[in-house]
Amino acid sequence: MSTLEIKDLHVSIETEQGAKPILKGVSLTINTGESHAIMGPNGSGKSTLASTIAGHPRYTVDSGSITLDGEDVLEMSVDERARAGLFLAMQYPVEVPGVTMTNFLRTAKTALDGQAPSLRHWTKDVKEAMSQLRIDADFAQRNVNEGFSGGEKKRVEILQLELFKPKFAILDETDSGLDVDALKVVSEGVNREHSKGNMGTLLITHYTRILRYIKPDFVHVFVDGRIAEEGGPELADRLEEEGYDRFLVAGTATAGA
């Protein structure tokens, strides 16, 4: 079993007006097999948390820690974090011209495992995973994300999740921009991998919609760079009914105090 532990994390970004704090003390522990949802209004710092865990250079960690089974994640480069078992399904996957999906997937798998996958099994695995996610076979020969629709890009993120088998998957608004069918397909993919019991899932979302398909064990509400409330799945139901208004009022009051 693995544990991803975030302790009192403070993160800022550089702006023209100087450093702007985004995360103001976030603590969160995820174990293998657990599914956590982070919900919150726009600008609350949800995506910053995801990008910081993955090591995006835009974000500066001012204090606090992130550890994976006791190892200091913040000391690791972006690729080392991935090899340690962290996977970020990106909100806006970029297009990489001239690099085919096939080449990319194999190169990444080789890097993650430290050795090239057996060609026969690998080809079969890729085909199978693609067909389960209803991705056309010809995508394998296309360049990474090039000309893919928003929904196709998200499916390809989950394809990687299933093929790379990380210890922890962080899904950064994977549900945004998806129609109902695509949302189902993508959710099934996440559930398939999660149900194998070897992965912890951190699901970041603005909407409660995806929580009808992926059942979180824990729900954390993010407001103004902090976790404002935590609870079980019932908290998501309440948010669906009430929205974020009561947190926003509280957030404003805190900011004013």
Binding site: D79, V99, T107, L112
Partner: protein
């Protein structure tokens, strides 16, 4: 610092402005101004835009009214001495031409060896041979100087209705730096088919004219590879005259040389033909790699596609791509598109990209161009690294992918492999 648009390469369908830095303090290359003029060191002092004077006495660059009106002549005397202010020389550091534009081209020049197909004809002919001038007329002073200076030419002929039984390699091996002239004629007969590779290597100071005749119904591919030594200087005019219903593919790959300036042109002379022109260049610190193309649609119903891609790394690596497409009044039904993309891998590089499209008839199938020059995209890097791929591998993956599009067009497996390796070496040398 390089003048560049950050990150995302954008397609533009407008006439590209040259350079166009956003603020003066970004100007880092001597003589660079808003208009990209004054580039070569010989030009310093020619102020622009009323900063000093707006006279027409020693005016810097007088653009041609039409690309079709450029002076063509076999006589060197018809071309005035170069100042570097000419429209077609303004990006070239002419001081580094090592006398190609001023001196008598009396060197012996690189040795030419033709190998490969057995069913083609290889001749060395005197300059009285009537095939001199069968496809080309010099369009600049250096080409005219070479035309006057040569005494012989190598002629490679693919006879009518003959398919070359294997690829033809013309090895051009330089051994000294004396300014020299060279003339090659490649003639593909009616309904013939061949791939001809011009393989340039060694040291040289060379002005070269290559005439390419593509006969009616012929299918000819000419690949010109410049893998010169680091200090080579090479100016090459490669003009193709294309007959009826022919297919012509021209590929240039330039990796080595201090200054390499290619002027490939395709002239359609009868309807129904198609031209593809590809280019790949990789400039390292201090290298000047320039390509100026012309596609002249002078007859109806021809199609042209131009794709040039470049990578630059290291201080003062400089590339120039100027793509002129001319659709004349008679050229109804023309279909043309040209693209240039440049990837700036480090600071200190500079890439000029100028697509020009002149259209004299509206009765065409299509005409367009795109130019994009960008830095290595850090988001690409983050994406690939977030999948466990180390930085070096990730960078190479992206650059290799970018350039492979052109290499894949060569379709000569041995050469494709060699050039892929050469690109890998470039990447390794640049610590990529």
């Amino acid at each position: 610092m390089a003048e560049t648009t950050q990150l995302t390469p954008e397609l533009t369908d407008e006439k590209a402005r040259i350079g166009s830095p956003s603020s003066p303090e970004k100007i880092a290359i001597d003589g660079f101004t808003e208009e990209g003029e004054n580039l070569s060191p010989t030009n310093t002092g020619a102020e622009q835009h009323g900063l000093k004077k707006h006279s027409h006495g020693d005016d810097p660059v007088v653009p041609e009214a039409s690309r079709g009106e450029r002076l063509k002549s076999y006589k060197l005397a018809d071309f005035p001495p170069l100042t570097g202010r000419e429209e077609d020389w303004r990006f070239t550091p002419i001081k580094r031409l090592r006398g190609l534009h001023t001196d008598a081209l009396t060197g012996s020049g690189p040795e030419v060896t033709v190998s490969g197909a057995s069913n083609i004809l290889v001749e060395t002919v005197e300059r009285t041979d009537p095939r001199f001038g069968s496809a080309a007329i010099p369009e600049d002073r250096v080409a005219a100087a070479a035309w006057e200076a040569v005494t012989q030419a190598t002629v490679v002929t693919i006879p009518d209705e003959t398919e070359a039984d294997c690829d033809v390699t013309i090895s051009i091996n330089g051994t000294d730096e004396a300014p020299a002239a060279q003339h090659l004629i490649i003639s593909a007969g009616k309904f013939s088919k061949a791939v001809v590779v011009l393989d340039h290597h060694g040291k040289t100071t060379l002005a070269q004219n290559i005439e390419i005749v593509v006969g009616d119904g012929a299918q000819l591919t000419v690949v010109s590879v410049q893998e010169w030594d680091d200090d080579a200087v090479h100016a090459s005019s490669q003009q193709a005259k294309i007959g009826r219903d022919a297919r012509f593919k021209h590929v240039v790959v330039t990796l080595g040389g201090d200054l390499v300036r290619l002027t490939p042109s395709s002239f359609f002379t009868a309807p129904g033909s198609e031209v593809e022109m590809y280019g790949l260049y990789f400039a390292d610190a201090g290298q000047h790699l320039e390509q100026r193309l012309l596609v002249d649609h002078a007859v109806p119903n021809c199609k042209s596609r131009v794709t040039y891609k470049g990578a630059l790394q290291g201080q003062d690596a400089h590339t120039v791509w100027v793509g002129d497409v001319l659709i004349r009044k008679e050229a109804e039904g023309t279909d043309t598109y040209e693209t240039n993309r440049n990837l700036l891998l480090t600071d200190g590089t500079r890439s000029d990209s100028v697509p020009n499209l002149e259209i004299e008839t509206g009765l065409i199938e299509g005409a367009g161009h795109a130019s994009a020059t960008g830095r290595f995209d850090d988001e690409h890097l983050f994406y690939l690294m977030a999948r466990g791929i180390d930085e070096k591998t990730a960078r190479r993956l992206v650059v290799r992918g970018f350039l492979n599009e052109v290499i894949q067009q060569i379709k000569v497996p041995v050469l494709e492999e060699r050039l892929t390796e050469a690109v890998e070496r470039e990447l390794a040398a640049g610590n990529y």
